[in-house]
Symmetry: C2
Amino acid sequence: MTPLRIERLALIGLGLIGGSLSLALKSAGVVGEVVGYSRQLPTRLRAQELGLIDRAVDSVAAAVHGADVVFVATPVQAMAGVFADLAPELSPTALMTDGGSVKGAVVAAAKSALSAAQWAQFVPGHPIAGTEHSGPDAAFATLYHNQRVILTPLPENSPALVARAETMWHTAGAVVERMTVQHHDHVLAATSHLPHLAAFGMVNALARLEERYEVFRYAAGGFRDFTRIASSDPVMWRDICLANRGELLPMLDHYLAELTQLRAWIDAGDAPAIEQQFAEAKAVRDALYRPPAAR
Amino acid sequence: MTPLRIERLALIGLGLIGGSLSLALKSAGVVGEVVGYSRQLPTRLRAQELGLIDRAVDSVAAAVHGADVVFVATPVQAMAGVFADLAPELSPTALMTDGGSVKGAVVAAAKSALSAAQWAQFVPGHPIAGTEHSGPDAAFATLYHNQRVILTPLPENSPALVARAETMWHTAGAVVERMTVQHHDHVLAATSHLPHLAAFGMVNALARLEERYEVFRYAAGGFRDFTRIASSDPVMWRDICLANRGELLPMLDHYLAELTQLRAWIDAGDAPAIEQQFAEAKAVRDALYRPPAAR
């Protein structure tokens, strides 16, 4: 494997995802200069202050100019505009990749904004990492350590370019896998997009109760963990839900059917059926995550 | 406040809740002897081996005989049988209390099994504490430290008896509050019973997908936290759902309506409505839990 060297990294979007990749590559000593752009001036200044970027610029085009790697880490709904803005300045040898949680909509946006040659420079990706915090202050260099990054290469990508994207993520500490765009969006609808929707909905359902203050007072550790992802960035998740609605809505219907079936069993007092469902869920989850050592 | 002294504590149910109370009272040095009963012989032996109890007996009656405090910590559906078994041996001066997560059904079960005088000895309670682990090995002395315990005293309880229950929980490190049985069951349906149902349902919905192994492979930290409570004890939660179905089912309907509304907005592409919902949920949750210090 050729060791990674990036002369100039262009970072579009200076939050948790972009900022953490920059910090990881900087701490690995493989990047010359990081040039960053975010729509908001205070975000740009803060990112520079925190050392996520070496230089802040005031347009996408200025960030991309002369960069050999371009990483787009904005909310997915903003990416169409970013691709249109960067197209005139994208170096013909640059690798372009992204961190969007949805791949189908992002790939479609790139296709309509880029030339055929530029399109072949785009290796779509999705780091399966994050916390419920967002913005430049949330970034840290080890976010991707041992986390999965999914690349969904396009048929038009050269093997060398895909390998470069892979090496970049390895350098950041990640485990890289490849799958198709369609498969990615289906799997993530199940394990990430639906749970976020369910958590946002749960907090709101309870917040709508007349006695909401009283109710939340008695929320314990289980509720805190269950709703952690409802503290995630609303704009990012609005975008994901809309961009992946084709996969998300059938998955939500599947979940609603499950809850409706449980409702019927509880209403009917069908103790064996309920216990079996709960036992199956516990067995699946216990197998998925090794429990911490007993205290 | 009179310092607490318990000559003989009878523990019915030797899992996380009962075992942890015993360990807490033992480590505070306020209890003479702990006599324990569980339906399963291996559980009794293990509880003794772990020091949760000083002596294991093979019937509820034998455990309660001569005890000045009786703590019932079985799954709630088993409590009717426990109350019937203990009635003949309950000392007329003993305090009886429980750790059931539902209070209405437990109070009704106690009422039908006990004499009027014994009924007045029962101070129903619910420690809002626990982990997703269960059984004697899960018990630890500090489980209740700074956790809330809700007592739902009956009109028939003497103030002295309620005070004794309160002192016992204070001694275990808990913060004690009082509310009515009905209010307890409503509040807990919202913050605990519904989230558990939603988490069990989520794991099962995903487990039913054809590509379940593939799907779970990409589950990240958000999913792990969201589904932690789906690793809870199936029998305990079956009982809670059935015992509190009067409060749980309307709460579930309220949640289903919330998800159905979100579904409609996503389907219609109503970005402002979705963003507002997510932002409200985030604001409510952030206010509820102070975020950990940024890394």
